[in-house]
C-alpha cells in the first residue's frame, strides 16, 4: 500500500541529477574569484615567468603534471594527509553518543592550475614583458568510508601567500640567482 509512492519517488530520483543552471555563466562571485586568483608581473619574459612559477610549485611540494609553455599552462598536484583534529574530535563525540562511526577526512589530492598570459596594451598587442598569472587550487578529499568530497579553494590568504612566494621567485629569476 505504502510502497507505491516510495517507488514512484525512487523513479524520479533515478532520472534526475540536475546540472546547476549557471554552470557556464560568469557570475559576480566568479569575477571576484578572478581578482583573487590573478596578479600582474612586469619586467619578466613569459618563459622566465613560467619557470619561476614552476619553481614555486616545487617549493610547495607539488608534482608537475602537465604543461604547455606555448600557451602558458602549468598543472600540478600533490597528495597529502587530510586528518583534521576538530573533525576527529567531532567523530569521537558522535561515536560516544551512539551515533556509530562517522566518516572523516583521510587524505586529499590538491590540484593546481597556473596560467600565464600576456597583458594586452592599448593597441591590442601582447606585451612581451608584462603578464598576468592566474592560479586556482582545488582539493579532492577522500573520507574514511572511501567517499570523496571536492571543492575549489577560495581563502584569500592562500592566494595572497602564493603570490608573495611567486614575487620572490620572479625576483630571483630576474636576477638569475
Amino acid at each position: 500500500m505504502k510502497i507505491l509512492p516510495i517507488l514512484i519517488g525512487a523513479l524520479f530520483l533515478a532520472g534526475c541529477v540536475q546540472i546547476p543552471e549557471n554552470t557556464f555563466v560568469v557570475t559576480p562571485e566568479l569575477i571576484q574569484q578572478r581578482q583573487l586568483e590573478t596578479r600582474r608581473y612586469d619586467g619578466i619574459k613569459e618563459a622566465d615567468l613560467i619557470a619561476a612559477s614552476a619553481n614555486v610549485l616545487q617549493d610547495l611540494g607539488f608534482i608537475l603534471e602537465n604543461s604547455e609553455t606555448r600557451l602558458g599552462v602549468l598543472t600540478a598536484n600533490k597528495q597529502r594527509d587530510a586528518i583534521h583534529a576538530g573533525e576527529v574530535a567531532a567523530a569521537i563525540i558522535v561515536a560516544l553518543l551512539g551515533g556509530g562511526a562517522m566518516a572523516i577526512s583521510k587524505d586529499q589530492t590538491i590540484r593546481v592550475a597556473l596560467v600565464v598570459r600576456p597583458v594586452i596594451d592599448s593597441n591590442g598587442k601582447a606585451m612581451s614583458e608584462s603578464h598576468f598569472v592566474r592560479v586556482t587550487f582545488q582539493r579532492l578529499v577522500r573520507l574514511t568510508d572511501n567517499s570523496t568530497r571536492v571543492e575549489t579553494l577560495r581563502e584569500p590568504e592562500l592566494y595572497r601567500d602564493f603570490f608573495e612566494r611567486l614575487s620572490k621567485s620572479v625576483f630571483l629569476e630576474a636576477q638569475k640567482i
Binding site: V26, N66, L71, V73, R111
Partner: protein, 139 residues
C-alpha cells in the same frame, strides 16, 4: 497483489533505463552525431589559433574551471570544475578554411554527458566576450 504487479512494473521501468556497455562507450543516444556537433560548435572569424586557445583558457578559468591540460598543436584544452559536483570539459580549436577557427566543446556533469544545448550556448557567449568576436553557427 495488484500493488505487487505495479511495483514490479515500476522496477522494470527503472531497469529499462540502464544502457548497455556499448551504448555507454559510444554514448549513442537519441541525438545524431550531426545534431551534437551543431550545438557543441561555433565558428570564429580569426585565423589565430593561439589567440582562440588562450581566450578559451581564460574563459574556462573565469567560469571556475581548473585547466587540466592544453596542447597548442592539437588545439585542445581540458578543464575540471569542482563545486561539490564535478564538471569536465574539453574544448578543441581547429582551423576552418584559411581565415576561420572552429571551436567545439563537450562536457560531462558527474557521470552524465551534458546534452542541453543551453549550457553550450552559455559557454560560447562567455568565449565571445573574451575574444571580442561573434560566434557563428557552423557545420
Amino acid at each position: 497483489m495488484k500493488y505487487l504487479v505495479t511495483a514490479i512494473i515500476l522496477l522494470l521501468s527503472l531497469l529499462s533505463g540502464c544502457a548497455t556497455t556499448n551504448q555507454r562507450v559510444l554514448d549513442s543516444g537519441d541525438e545524431t552525431q550531426l545534431q551534437k556537433r551543431s550545438y557543441q560548435s561555433r565558428i570564429f572569424d580569426t585565423a589565430d589559433k593561439e589567440k582562440v586557445l588562450r581566450a578559451t583558457i581564460s574563459t574556462l578559468q573565469d567560469l571556475g574551471f581548473v585547466i587540466d591540460r592544453a596542447d597548442l598543436m592539437l588545439g585542445s584544452v581540458s578543464g575540471t570544475k569542482l563545486e561539490g559536483h564535478q564538471i569536465k570539459i574539453t574544448v578543441s580549436v581547429r582551423p576552418k578554411g584559411t581565415d576561420r577557427m572552429l571551436v567545439r566543446a563537450n562536457a560531462q556533469f558527474n557521470n552524465t554527458p551534458i546534452e542541453d544545448p543551453k549550457h553550450y550556448q552559455n559557454f560560447f557567449v562567455s568565449l565571445e566576450k573574451s575574444l571580442f568576436l561573434t560566434a557563428h553557427a557552423g557545420e
